[in-house]
């Protein structure tokens, strides 16, 4: 018991939570945008991998860290455009297209990575984002490091939660986005083209997925290696259900999830006799449990996975 208390009272663990949560916050917001406009984006796992690779590569080639994030977001948007073109105007199956995007984006990232670094045995590193030192606030005991000793992209992610919540619930654009996810025919009747709205929103959401990947290589770690995303994208898809498609709850879900992850990482090192794999399984098991608990309460966007074709019912 005291072991658990020791872990829970350590500053290090609480400091880690927001860092672990950041890719989940960004990825979940991305999935949320896509699903709110009515399109499932299973490309997330591959888009995150590509973002992680291209963000790292941009910085490795000599550009700045922010340039790395920007390139990752732009590439994410491009994969989003591909997914959108296939699923929106053509109305192809969103499950299979998304998986195709994931397979394409991840194998393409490994291909580029191998071309750029043909013979490296250990992955080359870059100088990652450092924690911001906010004057005064960072010096507050406990709360200071936990809340203010974070990197700039983490702050960006937290800011984006507010921005996206504001756009979705307080602007005409947000209303149109939510409405397209519920009833694209009604949107069309209002003179807004649901096709373009879907394409644009999916691109924006996919840009966030690219950012989520780049955070891994430019802030959480400092290098890229294949399979590093490790199902984080799929977890984001589960987190959106947990969040009931709301940005605020997405933040809550990502932070809760990161709490358990940080906790199990530390528990692993102090508990003997339990295979470490059981701890590593925990995040995936939790995601499935969250899905089971929330599935009943979930109010899925009504037009999710229903392609819209004008004049077809």
């Amino acid at each position: 018991m005291s072991v658990v208390l020791d872990i829970l009272s350590s500053v290090g663990m609480w400091e880690a939570i927001l860092r672990i949560a950041t890719p989940f916050i960004l990825g979940t917001l991305g999935v949320l945008l896509c699903e709110r406009v009515g399109v499932l984006n299973l490309g997330i796992e591959g888009i995150m991998t590509f973002g992680a690779m291209i963000g790292w590569l941009t910085v490795y080639m000599g550009a700045g860290l922010w340039a790395g994030l920007l390139v990752a977001a732009l590439c994410g948007a491009m994969f989003g455009l591909l997914h959108a073109l296939l699923t929106v105007p053509l109305g192809l199956n969103q499950h299979v297209t998304g998986l195709g995007i994931t397979l394409f984006a991840s194998s393409f990232s490994y291909y580029i990575f191998r071309l750029a670094v043909p013979t490296a045995t250990s992955p080359p590193t870059v100088e990652p984002f450092r924690a911001l030192e906010v004057p005064v606030l960072s010096d507050i005991p406990f709360l200071g490091p936990v809340l203010f000793n974070q990197t700039a992209p983490t702050c960006l992610a937290l800011g984006l939660v507010l921005v996206i919540a504001w756009v979705l619930y307080r602007t005409p654009l947000g209303l149109a986005i939510r409405m397209t996810g519920e009833n694209p025919h009604a949107v069309d009747a209002q003179g807004i083209d649901p096709i373009w709205l879907r394409i644009g929103t999916i691109m924006a959401g996919s840009a966030l997925m690219g950012l989520a990947g780049a955070f891994l290589t430019l802030a959480a770690f400092n290098s890229f290696f294949p399979t590093m995303v490790q199902g984080r994208g799929w977890i984001c898809i589960a987190l959106v259900v947990f969040a009931l498609w709301r940005p605020g709850r997405a933040l809550l879900g990502a932070v809760l999830f990161a709490f358990f992850d940080a906790f199990q990482l530390r528990l692993q090192t102090v508990v003997d006799g339990v295979p470490y794999q059981l701890f590593l399984m925990l995040p995936y098991v939790l995601s499935i449990l969250a899905l089971v608990v929330m599935a009943r309460r979930a109010r899925v966007p009504q037009a999710l996975m229903v392609p819209y074709r004008r004049g077809e019912r």
């Binding site: 299973l42 591909l82 296939l86 105007p89 053509l90 109305g91 192809l92 199956n93 499950h95 299979v96 297209t97 998986l99 195709g100 995007i101 397979l103 394409f104 194998s107 393409f108 490994y110 291909y111 191998r114 071309l115 043909p118 490790q230 199902g231 799929w234 977890i235 898809i237 589960a238 259900v241 295979p275 794999q277 059981l278 590593l280 399984m281 995936y284 098991v285 995601s287 499935i288 899905l291 089971v292 599935a295 009943r296 074709r309 004008r310």
Partner: protein, 350 residues
């Protein structure tokens, strides 16, 4: 520009569309090869030569195609009923693990080869089927989307495999490397050709493809599964027991993927490691879609994928192009194939 549903698809189009799709994918991947500084024509020639140019190449391609046919069938069977089983990878590993655990039972290891082989194949298939029944039960009982649960289960299963081969199933004779105890000799599948890795699993895979085609076109269950996929509500209205049909489809699909893992262990590797499968489960999804979910088409699509993978390995050694180009080409051909299938169903009107 708008799209108009075709009343009927011209026969020529059904044949030409998949070919055009694969050619387009090869063309796009060729651009990537050219960017990397190699001659795409030479690269593709080397891929073909690596896959078909020698006796070794041909047998390796067929050996590689065997698990791909089975995981491809697993996905094709499920997708036809709109059951999104993305958990082929996990089912593959659990099937493989079941064989290595089953081989430890003395009564089974000591039985005549034919008995051991059949018992192990069944164990693998049952393990895979049970693994898929969990998410399907969650879908039917709680309405949990099976895509995410099957995906997440893949990660859980691979960790479970790693736990088992470092724990109870660990081979004490493998120095340091975590791998399972080898399966008994009586459980290994007979070789089809001397001096090659080609094994009887290929015959099982092809026979199953034919059997599934027969089930889908000639049995009540096949009709029900198809009806469920085409329009679940209408199927329920027509008296199709949806839950039972989905559970049966799941058992088939998971069983096929589990069988793929079992056969890979019994025919090629002889023991389980966590890198037993170079994404066979995920490739199965691509193969199913390349074949437009047709069980006989799966054989052709699996061969195409195996040629790419085996050929790219030798091409990569010769030209220094990363062998990931095979994965890129296969993923691209999935996307172009989806568009091609769309164009067989719709007509583009300016």
């Amino acid at each position: 520009m708008r799209f108009e549903r075709r009343e009927q698809t011209p026969a020529a189009l059904t044949v030409l569309a998949p070919l055009a799709a694969i050619l387009t994918a090869l063309l796009m991947a060729g651009i990537l090869i050219a960017i990397a500084g190699a001659n795409p024509v030479q690269a593709y020639w080397l891929i073909l030569d690596g896959a078909f140019g020698s006796r070794l190449g041909i047998t390796e391609t067929l050996t590689r195609a065997t698990p791909l046919i089975l995981t491809g069938l697993a996905a094709a069977v499920a997708f036809r009923a709109k059951l999104w089983n993305i958990g082929g990878e996990g089912q593959f590993y659990l099937g493989a693990l079941a064989v290595s655990a089953f081989g430890l039972i003395p009564a089974i290891a000591g039985a005549p080869a034919i008995v051991t082989i059949i018992a192990c194949l069944i164990a693998g298939a049952v393990a895979g089927a049970l693994l898929l029944l969990v998410p399907v039960a969650l879908k039917l009982r709680f309405g949990v989307d099976e895509v995410v649960t099957t995906l997440l289960l893949n990660f859980i299963v691979i960790l479970f495999v790693s736990m088992m081969i470092e724990g109870p199933l660990r081979d004490p004779l493998a120095f340091g490397w975590p791998q399972s105890v080898p399966i008994p000799d009586s459980a290994s599948l007979p070789r089809l050709l001397e001096r090659s890795r080609l094994h009887a699993g290929l015959l099982i895979a092809v026979a199953l493809a034919v059997a599934i085609w027969w089930i889908q076109t000639r049995t009540v269950f096949g009709l029900r599964a198809r009806a469920t996929g085409l329009n679940a509500r209408a199927a329920a209205f027509a008296g199709v027991p949806l839950g039972r049909t989905l559970m049966l489809v799941a058992a088939m699909s998971g069983g096929l993927a589990g069988l793929a893992g079992a056969i890979e262990v019994m025919g090629v590797k002889g023991y389980v490691t966590t890198d037993l499968s170079p994404n066979y489960g995920y490739s199965g999804i691509v193969i199913a879609m390349l074949a437009n979910r047709h069980p006989i088409g799966v054989i052709a699509a699996a061969l195409f994928t195996a040629v790419m993978f085996v050929g790219a390995d030798s091409m990569s050694r010769a030209l220094g192009i990363p062998s990931y180009i095979a994965d890129v080409t296969v993923a691209l051909s999935l996307l172009t194939m989806l568009v091609a299938i769309f164009l067989t169903q719709y007509r583009v009107r300016p």
